[in-house]
Amino acid sequence: MSSAQIEIQLIASLVAIACAIPGTFLVLRKMAMISDAISHSILPGLVVGFFLTEDLNSPWLILLAAITGVITVIMVEFIQKTGLVKKDTAIGLVFPALFSIGVILIAKNANDVHLDVDAVLLGELAFAPFDRVLMNGMDLGAKSLWVIGIIVTVTVILLVTFFKELKISTFDKQLAATLGFSPLVLHYGLMSVASITTVGAFDAVGAILVVALMIAPAAIAYLLTNNLKKMLVIAVIAGVSSSIGGYWVAHYLDASIAGSMTTVLGLLFLLVYLFAPNKGLVAVLFRQKRQQAEVHLLTFMLHLQNHSEESERHINHLREHINWGKIQSKTVLDLALKNNMIVISDDIISLTEKGKGFTEKAIDYITTNSTVAIEKMKEDFFLFRG
């Protein structure tokens, strides 16, 4: 690997970390689309900043563009608060307007500035190593690396310092307010970090893909854990590994680095969405099917308990009377037999002691809906495990 290759991967990884942290909170606050709005509407700020500084990595440009991002949020919230349009409509109104101002500014000054719409939308990670930080003739590394490195450092320090405050204001805004943690301060703090990160990542991955780096790692992590700290760690790992993986995909396909990174991220999300242990689609469908079978089993056992007469308990009755198909009847019978809930002698079905006890517990739960009763059920019945 050349040093340029290493630098590109390092920049991509740091961008992924910087995006995953605010992204996790945006996802939990159901504000994913705000990152889309920010990423587009910082464009006019970037362009104006570029006219003034002639340097995409200037701190002034980053600050100016980040302020545009925060202004976007304020505008969206203002429009929404008037009650005249809904929140998603407000987002859809504000960011295209600001973005198009940026596009016009670029087009009008295309001859003077080295900033084109393609690079703005998709980033130019491959060129990042060309712009160096030089001090007394010494090469200190790529400028992008320094910029994103500083952003990551600040983000991590803020996260560690205000983790408790971010958590409580995300979970329960009202409690945060009553305990003296201003949700407004935390909200705009988070929006500022998201804006600065977006500007810092913009150069590398562009306006469209920075959204993917904010939202997808958080969405992946959300499906894999029930712990906020772990969610942040998993989001960072998912982002970094997709970035490095994406770089090499781009290398072998000779394609856009940013595009490949996002594709890998999308595929990773698809895998997790399908196969996550508890919250994945397959697990959920499996659980639903099993619960359905258990509801049938319970119905069947309640029927047996209600009827002592043999005619009602004959194996053929199951098909005729309860109106179940052959396969379904067999599934339910097998399930009951396997769990020692019933015995069959001469085609007459009877509840075992275990079956009787279980049915009584179930009735107890169904009639009282008591949490104590359900806790007992969870020991031996999947249905009540949720």
């Binding site: 979970f171 003296g180 943690f181 029930n226 906020l228 359900i374």
Partner: protein
């Protein structure tokens, strides 16, 4: 001797979109009562609690907690919001939610330590939820979630508890457990204000009651004012102002 008031509300009016939700409310809640706020849907019960907490800004009037504005007294007040006010899919455990109750006394930046954890475990035990401490909150039943909220208020160690329908959608066991804790708190000298729906249990659970329907209808000891007259005044008339909760 002058009676000491935990909360005094003066001329409070709250309006959403020009419709009054609370209208000129005067209320003096004595220290140490277990008070129910009753009234029909849209009577402004939750709004009254949120106004006391400063979550909703009134268009007129003022609220004092032990004679001072809420902003100076937030450590004296614990709030149990409606269960539906948070996202229970949030990635956290029962213990962690209870620990959030300790954040107020910690202030900014400082992190909870062993002392806070111990207090939270004790609160969980008090509400009978200790064995669920590590469970993800979405895996709890409605009644268990309500108990977690109660435990979270307990660790705040406040003087005043404001509760928004703590019995909403809970099973009988949980309801008994909660009311026992509320009565215990009152014995310890705390003031409790509870938005309540079940009129039948008012005399059994509470010693003080406020009838509310946009305006304050009556407030006082249950044995003196919980009668047909006040119930009819509160529930019998259809107010023309339709209100959003």
């Amino acid at each position: 001797m002058e009676e000491k008031y935990a909360i005094t509300v003066d001329d409070l009016t709250v309006a959403y979109n020009y419709k009054p939700v609370l209208w000129d409310i005067d209320l003096a809640i004595p220290e140490g009562v277990l008070m129910a706020i009753v009234g029909p849907n849209g009577a402004g019960k939750s709004t009254l609690i949120k106004s006391i907490l400063g979550i909703i800004k009134p268009i007129a009037g003022s609220v004092k907690i032990f004679g001072k504005p809420y902003s100076k007294q937030h450590k004296e007040v614990a709030y149990v919001p409606q269960k539906g006010s948070v996202d229970w899919d949030f990635p956290t455990t029962a213990l962690d939610v209870v620990m959030m109750g300790t954040y107020g006394s910690l202030g900014w930046i400082k992190r909870p330590g062993q002392k806070e954890k111990k207090a939270s475990l004790e609160a969980l035990e008090k509400v009978g939820m200790l064995s669920f401490k590590s469970r993800q909150i979405s895996q709890l039943s409605g009644g268990q979630q309500q108990r977690i909220f109660l435990a979270r208020a307990l660790v705040q160690n406040a003087s005043i508890y404001l509760m928004d329908e703590p019995f909403q959608g809970v099973d009988a066991t949980t309801e008994r457990a909660i009311i026992n804790i509320l009565k215990e708190l009152r014995k310890a000298g705390k003031t409790l204000i509870v938005v309540h729906h079940d009129l039948q249990t008012v005399p059994e659970y509470f010693d003080w009651v406020t009838f509310l329907n946009v305006k304050k209808i009556a407030t006082g000891p249950v044995k003196d004012i919980f009668n047909d007259g006040n119930l009819t005044k509160t529930y019998g008339i259809n107010y023309k102002v339709s209100v959003q909760e």
